[in-house]
Symmetry: C2
Subunit: 359 residues, 2 copies
DNA sequence: TTGTACGCGTTATCAC
DNA sequence: GTGATAACGCGTACAA
């Protein structure tokens, strides 16, 4: 491997095949000092045209690539930001990451990605690791941290931005979607269609803050329409994963005589739709279904799913921009909350015919 | 901001609120040298119990977190690996990333993620950036690099693993799925069901190597069954995105009198299914459909999609293990190719009734 | 057992 | 214009 193994033991003038070229190597080759090399490569004006050219040529020939590690040590900035998520495979998060990455890259930042798998201990662990690596800021799109580890978080002396997890104070900032408004939109849509018995299908995959907020939206929509709420319409199916719970929801639904269901998220809605297909319940004729999230998949299923659009890409972009603003110590940063949008597709319609309870 | 602004101009004994604690700070506080601190914190045995305890206590009190940057500079290893993908939002890639991340994390490595958006220049750019950051290895699940930039790649003197892009020689290694075998499985399944006119729906989102291989599997399956191939059955729908092209495929299919379609990937298949639903073509009664990839979504649509399972998680895990092996300079690394599996679901059945061309 | 000195690869501040 | 030299934060031979 070594080019010069004979002098290996001297640990001098020695280059292994895998050791990157350094400015010292270039200096030796070009017959100048390493500081001259540094200047030549960084376009320092007070340097002779000749040596500049020479150094640059030698550097290119030797395939020199500067070490960001060394630069970071000096500048005390890594130009990298850490992102923690529950899991990358979550289609909801993927698009958020994309937004973060876009803005980060345009600003010259790289992205450290790590997952916590919804395990609180792992999550705080991951954050510590990111801090060791001296990322300039951390963006968290994970569920536990905010609520469980505020004390630990306050020890981390770098900007932290939480996504979809509003928290006030302590220098923690966040960007989130307005769940209440979104849910209200969804339920209002069903009410406008003429539905009067609308079920709310809860999901348990995410912490209750979501469910609570969306439930609140459900309540407000009823209030506005002066529609009474029946607690029996609030469903909490058991099962492994959102889709499975969505499937299970159909049995529960049959007993409620509801003709419309607002599901806590798209995956739950899709599970419910699948159960409908298998048991011959027609969507939307027999049952109207609304989801929440607007995953890509919502447009792929048949019938396509009416749902609440979360600006996920923008969520990520905004979070990263907020982190950048904090790094530049701009004016006071204010938490952002973004509005949702109703996407009417094919899974909702006016009620007609018999209820599924008697179908 | 500064704790001690009065001495700011001296640039000595000065700690800003955002400067992380260093071992020197601890040393000063504990009345020892920084090397003693280093030893105490790293569990060096030859150090007095008393000072060890003291240093550790002070370190904890000051909230010391070692700088990986400085450690890396010394060890010349960053314990991080870089991963480049076309886009994070691709559900196919997401699961691969998950596999990589799992193995990486268990081995104490962090993951740098960057995207190339299928833009060759951006891709080589991204790789250079990763190399500057001195990642220990690079894993590429992107399409262009291997074919277009072999010369540039050979300059990067760290282990590189390609996913789903077999390339021989030059120290480049790869792990890939056996597309030919997978496609063969898919088409054989349709033939076994009794189909004799099977369409192959191409997709253009990915480089031709995939299409070629899957086409080859299609050919082999026909050969084995002594079934003649009709070139008119090879469809290349135009459109923006796999799903859209899948939809467009239906018009083309109607002219072929085919009763079965093997789609190049799941998204194309799902587009086709959607078009079928909209135009009243029954799946699988009128048309059997097989996809390729086994995305999560394949199980969510109705009817669920018969497809070829790619071990995506394992693909990522294997790639990362291969990178680790190369880092440890184990015995010669051999490229891996993994087998696919047929997942029979609801979108395929024996042909019956009229063809969709006359429906 | 602990302190001193040096190196890791860069940048920056001095001199000359 | 260029060469020493220090510094960034940490680890570690060597000396004491």
């Amino acid at each position: 491997m070594a080019v010069d193994t004979a002098y290996d033991f001297l640990n001098v003038n020695f280059r292994s095949e895998f050791m990157p070229v350094t400015i010292k190597d270039i200096a030796k080759e070009a017959g100048v000092t390493h500081s001259t090399v540094s200047r030549a490569l960084n376009g320092n004006p007070r340097i002779s045209e000749a040596t500049a050219k020479l150094v640059q040529r030698v550097a290119a020939e030797m395939g020199y690539v500067p070490s960001a590690v060394a630069q970071n040590l000096h500048s005390r900035r890594t130009k990298s930001i850490g992102m923690v998520l529950t899991t990358i495979a979550d289609p909801f998060l993927a698009r958020i990451v994309e937004g973060v990455e876009q803005v980060a890259r345009d600003a010259g930042y790289s992205l450290f990605l790590s997952t916590s798998y919804n395990h609180p201990d792992k999550e705080i662990n991951v954050i510590e690791t990111l801090y060791r690596r001296r990322v300039d800021a951390i963006i968290i799109a994970s569920m536990w941290v905010g609520s469980t580890y505020r004390a630990e978080l306050s020890r981390i002396k770098i900007p932290i931005v939480l996504i979809n997890h509003l928290l006030e104070g302590d220098g923690l900032h966040s960007v989130a979607v307005d769940d209440v408004q979104g849910a209200r939109l969804a339920v209002k849509h069903l009410i406008d269609l003429g539905h009067r018995r609308i079920s709310f299908v809860k999901s348990l995959d995410r912490p209750s803050i979501y469910v609570e907020n969306r439930m609140e939206g459900y309540r407000l929509a009823h209030l506005e329409a002066a529609l009474p709420m029946d607690p029996r319409l609030i469903l909490t199916p058991e099962g492994d994963g959102d889709v499975e719970r969505g499937k299970r929801a159909l049995e529960l639904l049959r007993e409620t005589k509801a003709r419309a269901a607002f599901c806590c998220n798209d995956l739950t809605a899709i599970g419910l739709m699948k159960a409908c297909h298998e048991l011959g319940v027609r969507v939307p004729t027999d049952l109207s279904i609304v989801g929440f999230d607007d995953l890509e998949i919502a447009d792929y299923v048949s019938p396509s799913l009416t749902t609440i659009h979360q600006p996920r890409l923008e969520l990520g972009q905004t979070a990263m921009r907020m982190a950048l603003a904090m790094l530049e110590e701009k004016a006071a940063i204010t938490d952002q909350t973004m509005r949702c949008q109703l996407k009417v597709r094919q899974s909702t319609a006016a009620p007609g015919g018999d209820s599924i309870g008697h179908g």
